[in-house]
């Protein structure tokens, strides 16, 4: 095999006194920035006008933009029932197989509903393909990302945990997905 020689230019090592001065200056510069922020914050805090962007989570929370994808939730109609008809398209679209649905029949006007609707949030990757596949606008991505639980079993969310009233989602998500998916 032929070898190819590439000549690279490296800066010559700094002379000792110069190197000490330069790195010492960088340390001082960093300390200056940290100190400046500290005093400015303290001054702002004392005046009652904070100037930092730290959010005191979980007491304070940010408002997410409509396109933000948190965990998927089921849309609850005004009569308290889910909009989902257990068609299984989200189950099929899901790349991580985290959705499990068992359909059943009722006497209601919408004759089919999910008897079981489980999402394993530890497997869900918030990709939103279920939302895109849904023909009924029944599963949408919420702004909730808090899926921590004390056991593996606790990360499986059942139908009752997933239901969110439609009016809560109207502003945040419905408008966005209707525009995005051209419905």
């Amino acid at each position: 095999m032929a070898t190819r020689t590439v000549t690279v230019s490296r800066p010559a090592p700094m002379a000792k006194p110069q190197g000490v001065v330069r790195s010492g200056a960088a340390v001082l510069k960093g300390m200056w920035i940290a100190n400046r922020h500290f005093w400015r914050n303290l001054w702002g805090f004392l005046r009652g006008k904070p100037t930092v962007f730290t959010v005191q989570y979980p007491e304070e929370r940010l408002e997410h933009p409509p396109a933000f994808r948190g965990m998927p939730v089921l849309v609850q109609m005004d009569n308290g029932k889910e909009r989902c008809v257990a068609c299984g398209l989200c189950e099929w679209a899901c790349p991580t197989d985290c959705i499990t649905i068992y359909p059943a029949e009722t006497e209601d006007e919408i004759e089919r509903y999910p008897r079981v609707f489980d999402i394993d949030m530890s497997r869900c990757m918030f990709c939103g393909l279920c939302e895109e596949a849904c023909p009924e606008e029944a599963i949408v991505m919420s702004h909730n990302v808090e899926i921590a639980a004390f056991s593996r079993r606790g990360t499986v969310w059942h139908k009752e945990d997933l239901l969110v009233p439609a009016r809560e989602l109207e502003k945040t998500r419905f408008r966005h997905i209707r525009r995005t998916y051209d419905r």
Partner: protein, 528 residues
């Protein structure tokens, strides 16, 4: 053989056939709803229209006889336009409730709409409101809105079952599929109408709102419910069977199967199945390991024969086992030199179509492989009688068919009187509970092998469900017993055992496991 030209390609077709089956045979896809290979021609859907040279209008391929030198085109804009028009008309009143329709995914209306239809509807008028979820029989429901009036089901009831339950009522755009109020769709083959329905109008109650069809995995198999050996597809998902569907085999069942056979599958994934071998310790049956239980059963058989001779040992085989397993069981009977061997089978009602009176898939195979009384040995009734008299020391029973054949008093008295009883069955109840050693058996859906039907046709079954980890198949149990009771190396691998069968039994000469294919082969000496 007439030659016709289709889309510029010359093909040879059978004489006296219609154009549509000839095209399908040649691998040219022409969309169709009302035509079915096993039913008469109706010509009502108009979907299979093609262009034939010399004919001013398009013709329907299903009702046009082939003729030598015919020039057919299926790919012209005129044909595409006609198909688009038919699709649009069919969809004018269709509810398009695909998200809740059980047919979605295997629906011809969906498929053809994607392939040949328009994307949008041009009508604004309200769609026809008809009866939905109508119970038309004990096993069937009808959704009249979804029906496209292809009349396949009507012809099925007229020509195949000859019971005439279904009919199209009213005329023109008020036509509606229905049954008469006093004549529900209750024949023994009613669920086939759901298979042949190209849309979701006819649905079986058994599969209604159960699972979307695209999740189902399909494994070719044979119906275990009677000796006819109908070819079926086991449709399973999450290690559970969701439905059985007939598979076409013109030599056995055409494209049909009976309702009874179709509904017999829940036992295979029943959670109460016996999954661990049990050995009796005093009054109690306690779970054991496979090695220990089979060694114990082998010891009981060997000691029984050694102590009191093969006269006082009897074997009842099961007609639900595969040929390979029965072959090993027959070898076991040979090694022990048993005379009292039989394969009891439940005999019930049959008809002159598919349903056979002998209610087990492999009774013919058991007889073929010699699991019948030998050298003047007793049959099943005689064996139970011997047992009741106390003339048997060891009884080995496979399957629980004796509990269905004989009166409860008879078989219970017999099993109680046997000092050492080995039972191999799917469930602990009814008979394994009496056993000294109870060995779990595998259902037909969990193993690979062959069944021989009543016309001596050998057909393959394939494993659809995974058994419990570490569970031995019936063949494995017999093989390990043989290893305990005789010299030599014994292994159980269905294809290899089938080779052994072909070497030993002249009727099987020339067959091979792989060569059976999906349609099976008949044994030598059978007039076809």
């Amino acid at each position: 053989m007439p030659k016709i030209t289709v889309d510029g390609r010359e093909i040879e077709v059978a004489a006296d056939t219609m154009l549509l089956p000839a095209l399908i045979e040649a691998g040219i896809h022409v969309p169709h709803y009302c035509w079915h290979p096993k039913l008469s021609i109706d010509g009502s859907c108009r979907m299979c229209q093609v262009e034939v040279e010399g004919s001013p209008k398009l013709v329907i391929a299903c009702n046009t006889p082939v003729r030598d030198g015919m020039v057919v085109r299926t790919d012209t804009p005129r044909v595409a336009n006609a198909r688009r028009g038919v699709m649009e008309l069919l969809l004018v009143n269709h509810p398009i409730d695909c998200p809740i329709c059980d047919k979605a995914g295997e629906c011809l209306l969906q498929d053809y709409s994607y392939n040949f239809g328009t994307r949008f509807t041009r009508t604004e008028e309200p769609r026809r409101k008809l009866e939905k979820r109508k119970e038309i029989g004990p096993r069937m429901i009808l959704d009249q809105e979804r029906c496209i009036l292809c009349r396949r089901c009507v012809r099925f009831c007229r020509e195949i079952t000859k019971t005439n339950e279904l009919g199209v009522f009213n005329m023109g755009d008020r036509s509606v599929l229905d049954v008469l109020p006093d004549a529900p769709l209750a024949n023994d083959y009613s669920m086939n109408t759901a298979d042949i329905c190209p849309v979701g109008a006819l649905e079986t109650k058994d599969f209604h709102h159960k699972l979307r069809v695209w999740f189902l995995k399909k494994t070719p198999s044979i119906c275990p419910s009677c000796s006819n050996g109908c070819n079926i597809t086991i449709q399973h998902y999450r290690n559970q069977i969701w439905r059985l569907m007939p598979r076409r085999n013109d030599a056995v069942n055409d494209t049909w199967m009976c309702d009874h056979g179709r509904l017999q599958y829940a036992f295979a994934h029943d959670t109460n199945r016996l999954r661990l071998p049990m050995v009796r310790r005093g009054e109690q049956l306690v779970a054991s390991t496979w090695d220990d239980a089979v060694a114990e059963a082998s010891r009981i058989l060997r000691d029984g024969v050694k102590r009191s001779g093969p006269e006082r040992v009897a074997l009842l085989a099961s007609p639900h086992l595969t040929n390979e397993e029965l072959f090993r069981l027959a070898q076991l009977a040979d090694v022990l030199q048993l005379r009292h061997v039989d394969t009891p089978v439940v005999v019930g009602q049959g008809d002159d179509f598919l349903i056979q009176p002998e209610k087990a898939a492999n009774i013919a195979g058991a007889r073929e492989l010699g699991l019948v009384p030998r050298n003047g040995g007793r049959d099943a009734a005689g064996i139970l009688e011997l047992a009741r008299q106390g003339s048997l020391d060891v009884l080995y029973v496979c399957g629980s068919d004796i509990a269905r054949i004989f009166d409860e008093a008879v078989w219970k008295a017999a099993l109680r009187a046997v000092p050492q009883l080995i039972v191999q069955d799917l469930f602990l109840e009814p008979i394994a509970a009496f056993a000294t050693v109870a060995l779990p058996s595998l259902s037909w859906a969990e193993k690979t092998g062959t069944f021989t039907n009543r016309k001596r046709r050998v057909q393959q079954i394939h494993r659809a469900l995974a058994p419990v980890e570490g569970q031995w198949s019936d063949g494995e149990i017999f093989t390990r017993m043989l290893a305990h009771l005789s010299e030599g190396r014994w292994e159980f691998e269905p294809a290899a055992v089938f080779e052994e069968i072909t070497r030993k039994y002249p009727a099987y000469t020339g067959l091979s496991f792989a060569g059976l294919g999906l349609q099976g082969k008949t044994l030598a000496g059978v007039e076809v």
